[in-house]
């Protein structure tokens, strides 16, 4: 997947940029909607390409394959429910960078309003790699592993 504009003149210098796929959670709250806007801006700035988390949730093979082949999958979740991250993990997609918007000092609801600064804060955090893990998650079994999906880390015993 091409991440940015390329030039046929061959005059660009330096290593090619990594390919990244960005999944915003696209939740209904202000923080969820902010993930969409941040993902769009990141795409426009050449950081990666926005993709549809709902399409991932239904297990679309081509999208799962693209995500598996990307250099980095970036997940933007609006709140600690981390729905988008759970969707990626359920599909066996390794998450390279994961940002939770409420952890960036942005309050979830009840207002739907947000500012340009909020978007800028998320975009800047991505560029800084603030959500990057030192050891990216390895692909797990679909609907398997220790994550039961409840989010409490119980391994399915709760």
């Amino acid at each position: 997947m091409a991440q940015q504009q390329t030039c046929s003149c061959g005059s660009s210098t330096g290593p090619a940029g990594p390919t990244r796929i960005i999944f915003p959670c696209a939740g209904q709250a202000n923080t969820g909607q902010l993930t969409n806007l941040a993902a769009i801006q990141l795409t426009e700035e050449g950081y990666g390409n926005i993709a549809c988390v709902a399409l991932l949730a239904i297990g679309t093979e081509s999208l799962v394959a693209n995500a598996m082949n990307a250099d980095e999958v970036v997940i933007l979740d609006g709140c600690p429910m981390v729905c988008a991250k759970k969707i990626a993990e359920a599909q066996g997609v390794p998450v390279g960078q994961h940002l939770v918007i409420t952890e960036l000092g942005i309050t979830k609801g009840p207002s739907k309003s947000f500012t340009e600064d909020d978007i800028g804060k998320i975009v800047a955090a991505c560029w800084k790699g603030e959500g990057r893990k030192k050891n990216p998650a390895k692909p797990g079994k679909k609907n398997g592993g220790n994550d039961s999906g409840c989010g409490c880390g119980c391994g399915g015993t709760c």
Binding site: Q4, C7, C9, S11, S12, T13, G14, P15, G17, E44, E45, G46, Y47, A124, C126, W127, K128, G129, R132
Partner: protein, 80 residues
């Protein structure tokens, strides 16, 4: 002291490149002179055809795309 030149005409990507460079320098805690080069004649004179670009101590490190902060830190550490 390292000299980092950020070449760009002022578009959103060039501004992002500059802010990423500033963030990388801050994270590394190094002393650096960051020079913003936005004069097109000067940019062309450097032989840079694609923007934004980063030149570190006279060495063109990257052009044609925005580098993220970890990548710039690698450049500054001499990794690329």
């Amino acid at each position: 002291m390292v000299t980092i030149e950020v070449l760009g005409t002022g578009c959103a990507n060039c501004k992002r490149q500059l802010s990423n460079v500033e963030a990388a320098v801050k994270q590394l805690g190094i002393t650096a002179e960051i020079v913003k080069v936005d004069d097109m004649a000067e940019i062309m004179g450097r032989g840079v055809m694609m923007l934004p670009a980063i030149i570190i101590d006279g060495d063109l490190k990257i052009s044609g795309r925005v580098a993220d902060v970890p990548e710039i830190k690698k450049f500054l550490a001499g990794g690329a």
